[in-house]
């Protein structure tokens, strides 16, 4: 297995990413109603939690004094991380269903480059949607620390990269299983419960709370809240930089493993002739 590293590989990666972004962007813009509905659908959770926050009326130090902003950041973060997790698998399935996988695999592209180059538009779209959600929550009364935006972007990108690593691991099963997303399903369920999207993880029983810190999502949400909430520094748990380096370490561990398994799956699919089936 060769990792897609080095200057030449990066230049080539950008060239291929650019080609996919162009085609995928056109595809998305060809369906304006679907795009509009998607943006509208993304706002619904922050509207719902406006009322939930009034009901809960919880503004203690574990939510940095503002439950609504706390949960709005959780929703935005979760959206970005889901894009990182699911994009490659969904792109792969779409390519198989549209009969384009074989054609793609005979192009002179390293297979380990596909997870990075095929998903760029989804990432851009996820960022755009997150901005829509952020603006909607702002209009509904959330408070943000604008000085922390750059840090938030940095950690969001790193978080998406970490999620993509898990997504690549999932794709190595998907290449052979076609429809099933076992790793994604288990991971997403765990992340939704344990990462503290809707509640502080201190609310969890202690044995689950310890498990929370195994999942990169928890670090991303922690760092995002610390960066974006006006009283974010008062939140219990690791600091922004601890969360940042934990994510970095996770990326360094997950990518070689995920790319190794993806590469092995592709080779196995090639040998058995199941790559283009569905």
């Amino acid at each position: 297995m060769r990792l897609p590293l080095g200057r030449g590989a990066i230049r080539r990666g950008l060239q291929i990413s650019g080609a996919f972004v162009r085609m995928d962007a056109r595809d998305t813009l060809n369906y304006p109603l679907a795009l509009g509905m998607q943006q509208l659908g993304a706002i619904v959770p922050v509207v719902t939690f406006l009322f939930v926050s009034k009901l809960v009326n919880r503004n203690g130090p574990d939510v940095a004094g503002d439950y609504y902003t706390f949960v709005a950041i959780g929703i935005i973060g979760m959206r970005l991380l889901s894009a990182g997790l699911e994009s490659f698998s969904s792109q792969l399935l779409r390519t198989i269903n549209q009969g384009r996988l074989e054609m793609l695999l005979v192009e002179p592209i390293r297979w380990t480059m596909l997870p990075f180059t095929m998903v760029q538009w989804n990432m851009v779209l996820a960022f755009a949607t997150s901005i829509t959600v952020l603006l909607a929550s702002l209009a509904l009364g959330a408070h943000y620390n604008w000085a922390g935006v750059l840090g938030a972007i940095l950690v969001a990108v790193l978080g998406m990269a970490a999620s993509m690593g898990v997504g690549v691991l999932n794709a190595s099963v998907k290449v052979l299983a076609k429809r099933a997303d076992p790793i994604l399903t288990v991971y997403s369920l765990a992340a939704t419960i344990l990462s503290g999207v809707f509640y502080p993880i201190d609310t969890l029983p202690s044995f689950l709370r310890n498990l929370s810190w195994v999942i990169p999502h928890t670090y991303v949400l922690q760092a995002l809240r610390r960066a974006l909430m006006p009283a974010g520094e008062t939140l219990p748990g690791p600091s922004f930089w601890v969360a940042f380096f934990a994510l970095l370490a996770f990326c360094l561990v997950i990518y070689p493993i995920a790319l190794f398994f993806f590469s092995r799956s592709m080779e196995y699919g090639r040998k058995t002739g199941v790559l283009s089936g569905y």
Partner: protein
Amino acid sequence: MVDPIIKINGLRKVYLPSPGWMRLLIRTSVTEPVIALDDVSIEVRPGEICAVVGPNGAGKSTMFRVLTGLTTPTSGSATILDRDTTDRSHDLLRSIGFSPAEHRTIWLRHTCRENLVFHARLQGIPKKDTARRVDNMLERVGLGHAAERVGFALSSGMQARLMLARALLHEPRVLILDEPTGSVDPVGSYELLEIIKKLTIENQLAVLISSHRLDEIEALHDSVLLLDRGKEVYRGDLDSLRGEWERPQIEIGFSGEKEAMAATDVLRATKGVEVKFTEGSRVTVSTAMPMGQLLTVLNGRVGDIHTVNQTKIRLQELLATMLHREGDNQL
């Protein structure tokens, strides 16, 4: 003689049933080993078109998959420009132009130009050369006027041309076309094949083309590989194939049905003559016997003969006969 570009030697591909753990992921219908290719050998030189013919399940697509690196052979070898296709090196892949049977492989919501530009990027064609190459290729396949038309708005024939343009854009040495005229009307097919023939000569390409339409294979006037259930039934040029297998059909018209029936009895009793059918006053026979000798057999009835026509057996019939005999041998 020029060295071959494509060399396949004793190629064998066996698809094995999935192991138990794999059946947890996805169920397949393969319960015992399937021999998709069995000891197939072929060579294709620059400027040569080899038609790969055979019924469904003959192994045509598997052979193409091996050549394009999409699957690996169980034994034997396949090389292109002396590079093993199992390597999947970028140089190897750049030397292949591939057009799969599936028309959906083009981006149907995008224009012809966008489809080709996308392919150019994946092939690593420099940006400064892309526009010129795309325009040039669209012109060569007769799609210059439809450059801004989206895939959905193209006829099947035009989609096939776009796929051909995509396969040729990066200037490959080898062209592998899996049923390029599958859903194209006869006129469109003829035009497409003419383009392929012209480009093969001009660019000195080694071309492998599969088709179910035998009139097209005949129109290519080149070599043929006949496959059946993964085995090679015939390999060589079409003229040798005809020489080896073909026996001309002779249709003899008599003055009446009674005379035709009487002549049929005589011909049936003659060694080396096969009576294909008798219809009204006409008898059709297949024989390698010279015409004069055949008329001598009918000596007593020459006065009843009104017409004699000699016709060539159609390629379709010829290949069907060969496949049938091969099947008999296997049984």
